[in-house]
Point group: C2
DNA sequence: ACCCCTTTGTTGGAAAACAAACATACTTGT
DNA sequence: ACAAGTATGTTTGTTTTCCAACAAAGGGGT
């Protein structure tokens, strides 16, 4: 596309850049929205939290990736999650309704964009599938190994970084940080993996 | 749409009806597919299972609803789930690639169908969100109550049926059937709910 | 009505996670 | 270099789940 076309589309979708400070809320559970977010810089967390401090991290969204598309694309839906900036971040907010309802200008690119939206949504479902795979495991150890091995496969190496610190990983896997930490130590002692900070090396089970 | 138009579209998407016996597999984890399924009659379960008999039910799909769209819409993806007939069922298989790649006949309805696909996918993400909400809860009791109250809200009544039997509910919530059964008894004794078979009545917490 | 088979409820010991507290790095700012 | 704050690892009771086995209830077919 030419710059002009991109500008037209951005205007079509009512695009606006928002600068968010660390820990600022972009969406709050209970609200509804027509906009989806695209992370330009920094990162955001998609979370659920209750009044007792339990925080469930559904995903960390990095630059180039979207969030909130499903709520924006479902009229009448109410956000079941909140989105907070994990660090200072720039977010491009895009109105999905403007994309889905044929616009007056009848952008020839609308259809292409909608197909892209299909890819984004399908990818999100697959991502959710794999999160469900991990947290459905019954023990902390299995959840850890399920997550790490899928990350290892996804990144195509046995040594890789994960986007979470310990507390965040525990919140992502829905387990106690302390129990997880203990389990990681065990796995180290057994030689199944090695880790320092957010860097992991899987060794596989010795025969 | 006229019958003729519908027929054209069905042909476009390589539509075929499959009759499945109870317990027959429609998709197996590890396969890939260009087709999504539409349940015409009966019902199917979207599951993950391991070699030790643990079965995680991701969803029960009833007539009028789809399954497999996300894998079909993501070229190169591999099924992370299996789909089995929960009872004798008729399934309409639709080729999503034919829908996404502009067809030679250039069906004028393609765009409309793709928008519908967006809705279906967005709805699926929301459904997954709520499943994650339930199984992220730390105790069996909380998982049960999270699921039941969301079903109650969704159906708009305090008395409602759920689509699962006890074993299936346990598999959906990723807990032990026996522990769940015990917890349900407790909740009954405490007067928080009542249940017989798959019918539930929520009473709320007595003040 | 009877038997068989499936579903649901109950129990008890073993194992695991939870929660809170503390110890030990590791950062960050000054 | 220091101090304060944060992140990570460790430990200890307590609570809960898991698992296996059994009991009770319900359904279907003959």
């Amino acid at each position: 596309m030419t710059d002009q076309e991109i500008l037209t589309i951005l205007h079509c979708m009512d695009a606006r850049v928002k600068k968010m400070d660390r820990n600022a809320y972009i969406f709050r559970a209970g609200e509804s929205t027509e906009h989806m977010g695209l992370v330009l810089s920094g990162s955001v967390l998609v979370i659920q939290e209750d009044l007792w401090g339990h925080r469930n991290i559904l995903a960390k969204v990095l630059p180039g990736d979207f969030f909130g598309e499903s709520y924006a694309a479902t009229p009448g839906s109410v956000l079941n999650v909140s989105v907070v900036a994990n660090e200072d971040a720039e977010i491009l907010m895009l109105n999905v309704n403007h994309l889905l309802t044929t616009c007056k200008n009848s952008c020839t690119h609308h259809n292409h964009l909608i197909r892209n939206l299909v890819s984004v949504l399908a990818g999100k479902v697959l991502q959710w599938d794999s999160k469900i795979t991990h947290i459905s495991k019954r023990s902390t150890r299995e959840k850890i190994l399920s997550y790490l091995s899928s990350e290892s496969i996804r990144q195509g190496k046995l040594a890789f970084d994960i986007p979470y610190d310990r507390q965040q990983l525990a919140d992502y896997l829905s387990v106690e940080r302390s129990a997880m930490s203990a389990e990681l130590s065990k796995l180290k002692k057994e030689g199944i993996l090695d880790t320092q900070k957010n860097h992991f090396v899987l060794r596989g089970i010795p025969e």
